[in-house]
Amino acid sequence: MSPESIPAIEARGLARRFGARWCLRGVSFSVSAGEVVGLTGSNGSGKTTLLRMLSTLLAPSAGSGRVLGHDIVSDADAVRQNIGFLAHTAGLYEDLTAAENLRFAASMYGIKDAGIPEVLKLVGLGTVGDSRVRGFSAGMQRRLALARLVLARPRVLLLDEPYANLDTAGIAMMNEVIRGARDRGGAALLVLHELAPAEGVLNRLETIVAGRIGSPAGVTAGLGEPVGAAT
């Protein structure tokens, strides 16, 4: 299989339960390199859960997933090296400054000379680099989270409602970053509440219906045993 034909993201029957409740009941789809795919569904439909599974934060209860050919369970570290994840909450340290938050991220990624001042300018936070995040508005925090995303130049972007709290300029910035990843041969999966901001960027849309994407038939095939049960 040549590198171009490995799907950037591949989900097969991904399902997840919380206690007795099944949040996702079987999600199968794929995203090719160079594609930007939007993910929609009603509130509580499991969009965030799906994204968290693909970004290795949550183990699937059933099914499997791959990012750039790496399995999200058995090869999780390889997946992490190639993804950029944006959650609902910005996930920043409020008592550190914007620059320090980015410096921390750069250390954790092992990036030397991350060019933090430039990145801050890029997202419009150039003047507040040395201010603590605690004073930032929701929009500013989102931009900082975007800056952190940009640092590592990941190939695959997994973004949960990326446009929330962003003004027009912020939305344009976000789309630039998405386009950048796409043009580099990567891909992006966006969980979306409304489609308007993503208009110019989306290639197609997937919708979660009743916890599923893809036909039920393909899903039950792999569901003989709970994950982790020895056969």
Binding site: W22, G26, A62, P216, T220, G228, A229, A230
Partner: protein, 229 residues
Amino acid sequence: MSLYLAPSRRWTTFGIFAFLFLIASQAYGFTTLPDRDMGHLQKILYVHVPAAWMTFLSFLVVFIYSARYLISKRETDDLLAAAAAEVGATFNGLTLVLGMLWGRPAWGAWWVWDPRLTSTLILFLIFVGYLALRAFVDDPQRRAQWSAAVGIFGAINVPIVYMSVRWWRTLHQIQSSPSTMDPAYVVGLRLNAFAFLFVMIYFIRKRYELARIARATEFAADQVALGGA
């Protein structure tokens, strides 16, 4: 291995045998002579000592199956560890109560910080912590992983706790403990030890069965949710 575990006739027979054996062993205890010093009171040891031994054994089972779970990620291993912890906590409680019942007449007080009894109390708290953790975590996978860690650490700590409490108490005082026993009691003790062992095995098995049936029921409901409706 499917989650469901059917109650079997063999185990029911074993259970009946275990309880009959227990009754017989306890009855035997009544036939032995009263102790020179402590009189009939000493016979409480026919229950107290085996209960203590079963407590340790349960901890060992918790340790083994917690470790197995971390390696195998098989949910059944976690369920067995949890069953052993519940049964162990029960035997632990029994040990403590009986120890205090012996101690009141023997030492004149309900609690004198006897090294072994004190260590057993700490063990009980460790069991309780394990069970409390399980009660407060809903997600089965997370609950299993976390319980395994807490179970392993708790078990590792058992000998350490015993050592430290013993040093703490014996460096400055010597106390008679309920286990100084007349050799005439050894036969009765061994009998009861085995009886308790069989009963413990039966309890753990039954608790484990229950847990697996409960999980299997949940899983069957999931199959329906996932596959069809």
